[in-house]
């Protein structure tokens, strides 16, 4: 699903539809106008980034930020992160791990692989909404994305 946007595209990698819904709700609540793309597992995320499968004919620009869950079907979030950060063409894409896990192990692994930010999803909805909003605002609006990231409508 795609939502039209004037700002940098946000790629959400999340297998849980409820989390997707809540995340989108949170983003909507603050009227973030960025284009949002949701993929449901690690494989789809990599397909999207490499123009494969259903994303063969997608636009040639990279997302302004990728919100990446860690616990994903097929290809694990850390694997996705590893492939993105070791790929010459993709490594500049900012990646934010957005996960339920507050395990130190995951945090350390992510930072070692070069993650740009690590956010634990708060249980409290208000806090969750705040976190998502701030992420969206920062990465989608404030942060200047790397070259090759086309911002539609600007």
């Amino acid at each position: 699903m795609e939502i039209g946007s004037k700002l940098g595209r946000i790629l959400i990698v999340e297998d849980d539809p409820k989390d997707v819904e809540l995340t989108l709700t949170a983003l909507e609540e603050f009227n973030l106008a960025n284009e949002i793309i949701v993929v449901r597992d690690g494989e789809e995320a990599l397909d999207y980034l490499h123009y494969r499968g259903q994303f063969q004919s997608r636009g040639t620009d990279n997302p302004a930020v990728m919100l990446l869950d860690l616990k994903l079907p097929k290809v694990d979030g850390l694997d996705v992160l590893k492939q993105v950060k070791s790929d010459e063409k993709l490594r500049m894409i900012p990646v934010v791990v957005l996960t339920s896990s507050n395990q130190e192990k995951d945090m350390v692994a992510s930072y070692k692989l070069g993650v740009n930010a690590y956010v634990v999803k708060p249980v409290d909805f208000h806090e969750f909404v705040n976190a998502i909003r701030e992420l969206g605002v920062f990465w989608g609006v404030i942060n200047e994305p790397p070259p090759g990231t086309v911002k539609k409508g600007t």
Partner: protein, 639 residues
């Protein structure tokens, strides 16, 4: 012929001398009386009795003829005394001549004998000169009378330089005994032999073997002493050298013997020397120590009688028998002490033969008492080691099992962290969305339900977080550093500040130590304790919280956190530190019941302990102790 000529000459002399006397008488006319006397004397003295008689007869005839006129030859009475006087005179002269001749003959004979003697002596002296041995003769006044070539060669004096000189002064002789004794010996026995020291002409000293022989004259009186010398200077020097060498050798031998004796005595093993009958010749100190027999008690007794136990007598005799037949014995056996006690020994016995000595055996005993004790100890320790090895294996197995369990727990915690939180978040999220829709309708009841659901979800989230933190303490690696607790308390206060907000609290913080420990864990301890204190003083108008030090010994640092809050009943004190244990109703003071369990777990991992004191409405004091480095023992696993 010669006799006739001699007789003619004699008688001629007589006729001539009487004729001369008659002529002179006639010429001088009797003025010189006695001329005929002279003629007669000459004839008798030089020509003998016959010519003397002729001269007498002629003289008388001539006197008769020429003295009386008429020249007759009558003999008258008055003339007779005159003739007798002539005859007597002639007889006297004849006798005198005879005496003279005899003396002359004797003198000649003596001279010849003397000449012969001189010849012999000279020949003898030449012979003495031929020998190389120094020989010289001195009279009884020590004056040298003879000095041969050998003496000249030895002493450097010529015969001219020595003969007539005092022998001992010239040669500066040093006698081995007083000279008078030597002279006495020589006069008694005729000879003396001994070594003398003399000086040569150039002053150097010479040692001679000297032989003296006494010469006596015909009357047996000591006349001279012949001394022959033999240069033994070299021999003396060699003798002295040999004596010196012998002395050195003797000294060295003595030293070596002393060393050997010392070695024998000080040897750390019991050493014994035996003769061919197995009787003890000598024992050393260690032998005495080992077996209790002093050398006096041991020497002369058969060794086996002294130290072989009765039950091993056969074996002991076998050994000594074997040694006598040239065998070397090495054995570990038992020997008996004087007091009857047994000594485990190692025995080394070797046959020995020293020339001229009757030693048969040299035996060395080493006391194995301590060795045996150590051996026993070793066996015991080996058993212990086996046991420990077994325990270690068991421990390693347990450890592996524990590691597996830990890994499972970790996976479990990971799973909880991911999978339990997500539904909670959804409950919370969707309830919130629902609440938004209902809140506009103002349904009081619905609002309360929704709020309750949200609170429950949040509480469950907290519970999960606390549980995960708690389980992490047991597994996490600890990093031990010196931690200043005073600084750490201030950090913890910053962390809990939002919990008391505007409330006025009188903080008393003083005298906190620095301890060795994991900084982040200790911070968690302080945060939990401060958080508790803040929470349970909420109902108090005047709040006092004190953090201080209360050491009980130098081996540990004790820190307490004291509040004047609601306190607790001491009968529940044991439940304070259990997981999910709460002493207050859930709506009175919020909390998960994990905080104090976490505190205890952390302190236990640091090797310390926690305890609490309190009373209902009288406040509570929580203590924890951390061992100081010398008494510090890091516990690898929490309780």
């Amino acid at each position: 012929m010669s006799r006739i000529r001699s007789a003619v000459r004699g008688y001629g002399l007589a006729v001539l001398s009487v004729a001369c006397a008659l002529g002179l008488e006639l010429l001088l006319k009797g003025r010189i009386p006695g001329l005929f006397w002279i003629a007669i004397a000459l004839s008798v003295w030089y020509a003998g009795v016959g010519p003397g008689i002729l001269a007498l007869v002629l003289s008388i005839s001539a006197l008769k003829y020429f003295s009386e006129p008429g020249h007759n030859f009558h003999i008258i009475r008055d003339d007779i005394p005159y003739y007798v006087a002539f005859i007597l005179f002639a007889l006297l002269i004849a006798w005198l001549s005879n005496v003279r001749r005899r003396v002359e003959r004797n003198l000649l004979q003596s001279r010849d004998e003397l000449q012969r003697e001189v010849t012999i002596r000279t020949q003898q002296a030449r012979l003495l000169d031929l020998t190389r041995d120094p020989i010289f003769v001195r009279d009884m006044n020590e004056v040298i009378t003879y000095w041969n070539r050998g003496a000249q060669e030895l002493y450097g004096f010529t015969a001219e330089q020595t003969i007539g000189k005092h022998s001992h002064e010239l040669l500066r002789t040093v006698f081995p005994v007083p000279l008078d004794d030597i002279i006495a010996e020589v006069q008694r026995s005729g000879r003396w032999e001994g070594d003398l020291k003399n000086a040569k002409a150039d002053g150097t000293e010479v040692v001679v073997s000297s032989r003296w022989c006494l010469q006596r004259d015909e009357q047996g009186r000591p006349m001279s002493i012949l001394e022959s010398n033999n240069d033994i200077t070299e021999r003396k020097h060699r003798e002295e050298d040999i004596r010196g060498l012998n002395q050195a050798l003797a000294r060295r031998t003595a030293t070596q013997k002393a060393y050997l004796d010392e070695l024998f005595e000080q040897a750390p093993e019991g050493v014994v020397l035996l003769d061919v009958r197995d009787c003890i010749l000598r024992v050393n100190r260690e032998f005495t120590r080992m077996f209790g027999y002093t050398p006096e008690e041991a020497v002369g007794y058969p060794i086996n009688d002294l130290i072989a136990p009765d039950e091993l007598r056969g074996e002991a005799h076998e050994y000594t028998h074997g040694i006598l037949h040239g065998k070397t014995i090495r054995a570990e056996t038992i020997r008996r002490r004087k007091d009857g006690g047994r000594v485990p020994v190692s025995l080394l016995a070797v046959p020995v033969s020293v020339p001229g000595e009757q030693i048969a055996e040299y035996a060395i005993y080493r006391d194995l008492t301590r060795y045996k004790a150590v051996e026993g100890e070793l066996t015991l320790q080996k058993a212990h080691l086996e046991e420990i090895r077994g325990l270690n294996e068991e421990l390693a197995k347990r450890s592996r099992e524990l590691e597996a369990t830990n890994r499972e727990l970790e996976a479990f915690a990971y799973s909880i962290s991911h999978d339990l939180r997500a539904p909670l978040r959804h409950i919370s999220g969707y309830t919130e969305l629902l609440h938004k829709q209902f809140s506009s309708e103002g349904n009081e009841k619905s609002n309360r339900y929704i709020t309750t659901i949200l609170e429950s979800a949040k509480r469950m989230g907290n519970l999960i977080d606390d549980l995960l933190a708690f389980s992490r303490i047991g597994r996490a690696e600890t990093q031990e550093t010196l931690v200043n607790l005073e600084d750490l308390v201030r950090e913890a206060l910053t962390e809990v500040r939002h919990e008391f907000g505007e409330r006025q609290i009188a903080w008393k913080i003083s005298g906190l130590p620095s301890v060795y420990g994991d900084r982040s864990m200790l911070r968690m301890v302080l945060v939990n304790l401060l958080s508790n204190a803040i929470k349970f003083t909420r109902t108090r108008p005047q709040v006092e919280i004190e953090i201080g030090r209360a050491d009980r010994s130098k081996n540990e640092a004790v820190v307490f956190v004291k509040d004047n809050g609601v306190g607790f009943d001491m009968k529940y004190v044991k439940r304070l530190f259990g997981v999910f244990q709460r002493l207050h109703q859930a709506d009175a003071f919020e909390g998960t019941g994990i905080g104090l369990a976490t505190v205890q777990r952390i302190i236990h991992r640091h090797g310390g302990s926690v305890w609490a004191e309190g009373a209902v409405d009288k406040g509570a004091t929580f203590y924890f102790s951390i061992p100081t480095p010398q008494g510090y023992l890091w516990k690898s696993a929490a309780n």
